[in-house]
Symmetry: C2
Subunit: 242 residues, 2 copies
């Protein structure tokens, strides 16, 4: 039963501190929830205003009122159902051919969009610095549109990780090599820096090649592209050569 205590616990999952304390996060909407049984994620509780509409057999479903759904949803316009899921352990996939590395990305929308992009291009893993926004942040999960189910996100000490990494490391910044003239090998990592500050010097030191999307417009006033847009354009270019 959805007691006041449970509602309060679910509401607290907005914050990383409480997600870690309870080891839980939320997945909202039947469309994504129905993919959970085919993934590594485990459902702890499943609440729905319309359980009859969930035709797939999975976890026991608790029927709740729209008013209660509003209380436990992090969406402005709550959907049909909310699944409380267990946070799996932080695991690393060995030997991924192309992987993305995020060095201090802060905006949940950017991380979510980059996970969605990775999924589109079949990239299996994203390595994040420990200070990158948490993948289980509800805004990140929402922005992935379900792609978090198919892309492994691993948090680590980036400097130590990069020192041990055996393949070429490309980093994106202004004033690097033109992406259209870059030859990408079979196996490599592609690093994106923080939205405001770019790559950390300690990260940049470990990068083999800095690459840049050339600007075709003439105005020096033009702002550099947003990090997720840059990721999309660069991945588009890498995969054009596949």
């Amino acid at each position: 039963m959805l007691t006041a205590h449970i509602i309060k616990t679910i509401q607290s999952l907005d914050k990383k501190k409480y997600r870690q304390k309870y080891n839980l996060f939320l997945v909202e909407g039947n469309k994504i929830i129905k993919e959970l049984p085919n993934s590594d994620y485990e459902i702890e509780n499943l609440y729905s205003i319309d359980p009859e509409n969930i035709t797939f057999k999975m976890h026991e479903i608790e029927k709740i009122l729209p008013n209660d759904l509003k209380k436990i949803s992090f969406l402005q316009h709550p959907k049909d159902s909310v699944a409380v899921c267990k946070i799996p352990e932080n695991k690393y996939l060995e030997n991924v051919s192309i992987q993305l590395i995020l060095d201090g990305i802060q905006d949940p929308g950017n991380l979510g969009t980059i996970i969605r992009l990775a999924d589109w291009f079949g990239i299996e893993q994203i390595i994040c610095s420990n200070d990158t926004v948490d993948v289980y942040n509800p805004k990140v999960i929402q922005a992935t549109m379900g792609s978090f189910l198919r892309v492994n996100v691993f948090y680590t000490n980036l400097e130590e990780y990069l020192k041990e990494y055996k393949h070429p490391i490309f980093g994106t910044d202004m004033n690097g090599e033109n992406i259209y003239e870059t030859n990408f090998p079979e196996q490599f990592s592609l690093v994106f820096g923080n939205e405001g500050n770019g790559l950390r010097p300690s990260t940049e030191d470990l990068i083999s090649t800095i690459i840049t999307i050339p600007r075709f417009g003439n105005s020096q006033s033009t702002e550099s592209l947003n990090v997720s847009m840059s990721a999309g354009i660069i991945l588009g270019e890498i995969f054009s050569k596949k």
Copy 2:
């Protein structure tokens, strides 16, 4: 002087109806405001909490209090200054080599991001169907990061426009020709459809070639890319051949 009446008028500029009534829109932040004198835009009023900090000579500046700035700003975190600008006439640039066409884009963030992209790639014009979100919507202006100053946005009856247009028209959708195998001519238009519904049938009928970004991931559950991300990847590919 910033009277209660003027505050109310400025606040109403959040709505297209009132922007059209007064023929005014807002530009926020010194960084973008200082580019206005080099553009076609005319400032009607300029308010700042820190006029001494505006070193560039332009319009007379009215000093206001932070509390008043909060009232007239559309930003969650208001910047230093607000310029009330005249909406210029809806003008068309003839003979642009590559232009984008938007068929019913609704999300202000998407339009703003696409204008910013166009600016990056030096695309001078975007043609919008009359039902596309208004470029002078404060959220659009903000998302362009100043790029609205350098890209002409023209609203028109799209069906009539496309019937008269003399160059190839590419449209983006699922199940089209692979963008990596498409030859783009010197002069053409590239059409993007509405976020939810894609291209209107009446628009699709007038398109020469439908193109698609191939999906490299294997999952059929992967959502199609957001329209502004698609625009970025396709423009990246078109300009890789320049």
